[in-house]
Amino acid sequence: MDKNELLTKLAECVEFGKVNKAAPYPPTMKGQDGADELTKQALEIGIKPVDILNDALIFAMDKVGEKFTQKKIFVPQMLISAKAMNVAMEHLKPFFQSGEVKRKGKFIIGTVSGDLHDIGKNLVAMIVEGAGWEVIDLGVDVDAAKFIVAINENPDAVVGLSALLTTTMPNMQKIAAEIKSQFPDVKLVIGGAPVNDEFRDEIGADGYSPDPQSAVAYLNALVA
């Protein structure tokens, strides 16, 4: 396979969630090499890691996010694509560590205090990572102090706040206020079932993302 063919194949594996050769899913790709094997092969024939990242992985995850937004695919397909991407990323890790491949930036994310729901937050984290960002996931039930520690360690990061429960929206407001009072320049983006753009405006956050793909669009615009 030549370079383009290989990258196209790898992108397909990520888009449709073919993790490795042994993986039974998707049935139409049974027995074929998956993201794991193809990434290895791509590096072996000398394709640059940055091209693997941009032309295959980010390219594919962008399609996945787009289809999810349009409700053409649902959470399971997105999770399996993210898994394929993560397997490919493992092979690229050394190049991130050496600095040969750079990420677009850092993104701190957490579900706000009082809220223990992580599915939506995890989906956003996966898609943002798949878009080429380094994700620092603080987990669930995260209070202002924990966000602030993370921001101190990563002052150039963008911060994402998630909530599922309507009852934890006041906590989101408090956390946003504390972060902004200490770090007025840090960009804050919010998401979750009960929040909307009006609420973003009310609490002084910078961005509102109704779905993972729009979080990516917001982040990418910051570094464009």
Partner: protein, 296 residues
């Protein structure tokens, strides 16, 4: 007392209850506090909610046990108390329901995604089994597996209820409207998929709950009825989508606004109508009035 299914077969439209979670918050439940722990800590307050729905005209009331599975309870270190907490939940509702109203033991999702491999089907089944048995021991005569989005998790819950209790088993899922007007859960399950899988698992009543208000529910019920004319259908709708105003979350659909969809829902084929997030005894009272007027 007739079973719910028998009552529906003899032509009744029935009224269920409204929200519990939002009600508990008004009574002082804090964000991050374990809702179900109140069955043991503040049974008097939980009882008040149950009573208010009976007073509003509900034919059946739920229990304060939505997150009463061992997985959710483990976030509060209460995973070993699942049976006890569920039993207490059902006992409170039964105390108010007496002998001629139904008690629906509420069973919500675990928050775990099976396909991610962090939990097995058998583990889910065991957690639901404990919950179902606790609810029945406390006096529930039906179990409602609700707010489900994944077929496999719902199957585990319905089977755990069917195989370990003699209660009627209800399953409702939460659907969103796609841009093309069709309905899917966030895991990609359509109402038609749900009907087939849940009948197979042993549910005898199915339906939808939560979501973005009454109007969408009409579309969901139509999709169910298109493939199954017979199975009793339950709808627990939100009072619209939540809106945040002046530091407080409010649901904007008023009792009158919700009530105007009741007739349409019944015409579409719904047999049991109640509320989910944001609905109050006032909403239920209004729904009950309309349902009674339809009977004439």
């Amino acid at each position: 007392m007739k079973t719910i299914t028998q009552a529906i077969r003899s032509g009744n439209v029935m009224v269920s209850d409204g929200a519990w979670g939002t009600f508990l918050q008004q009574m002082g439940l804090q964000p991050g506090e374990c809702t179900e722990s109140w069955n043991l800590k503040h049974p008097d307050r939980v009882l008040k909610i149950a009573q208010s729905y009976i007073d509003a005209g509900s034919d059946m009331i739920e229990t304060n046990s939505f997150g009463g599975n061992a997985f959710k309870l483990s976030m509060f270190g209460l995973e070993d108390k699942s049976f006890e907490i569920n039993e207490a939940a059902a006992r409170i509702s039964r105390q108010v329901a007496g002998d001629n109203k139904h008690v629906l033991g509420s069973i919500g999702p675990t928050g775990k995604i099976l396909m991610m491999g962090d939990v097995t089907y058998d583990q889910l089944y065991e957690a639901f089994k404990t919950q179902a048995m606790g609810l029945e021991a406390g006096g529930a005569n039906a179990l409602v597996v609700e707010t489900m989005t994944d077929i496999e998790e719902a199957t585990a819950a319905v089977k755990a209820c069917r195989e370990n209790t003699s209660s009627e088993v209800i399953c409702t899922m939460t659907f969103d409207k796609s841009p093309d007007g069709s309905f899917f859960t966030m895991m990609g399950v359509s109402p038609a998929d749900m009907v087939a899988a849940m009948l197979d698992a042993g549910a005898t009543i199915i339906g939808a709950n939560c979501g973005n208000g009454m109007e969408n529910m009409i579309g969901v019920v139509k999709e169910i009825r298109a493939i199954d004319a017979e199975i009793p259908v339950l709808v627990h709708a939100n009072a619209g989508a939540p809106v945040y105003k002046n530091g407080e979350t409010v649901f904007l659909e008023t009792p009158d606004e919700m009530a105007k969809f009741v007739k349409l829902l019944v015409n579409a084929g719904a047999n049991i109508i109640g509320g989910c997030c944001g609905t109050t005894p006032d909403h239920i009272k209004k729904i009950a009035e309309i349902v009674k007027s339809l009977k004439k």
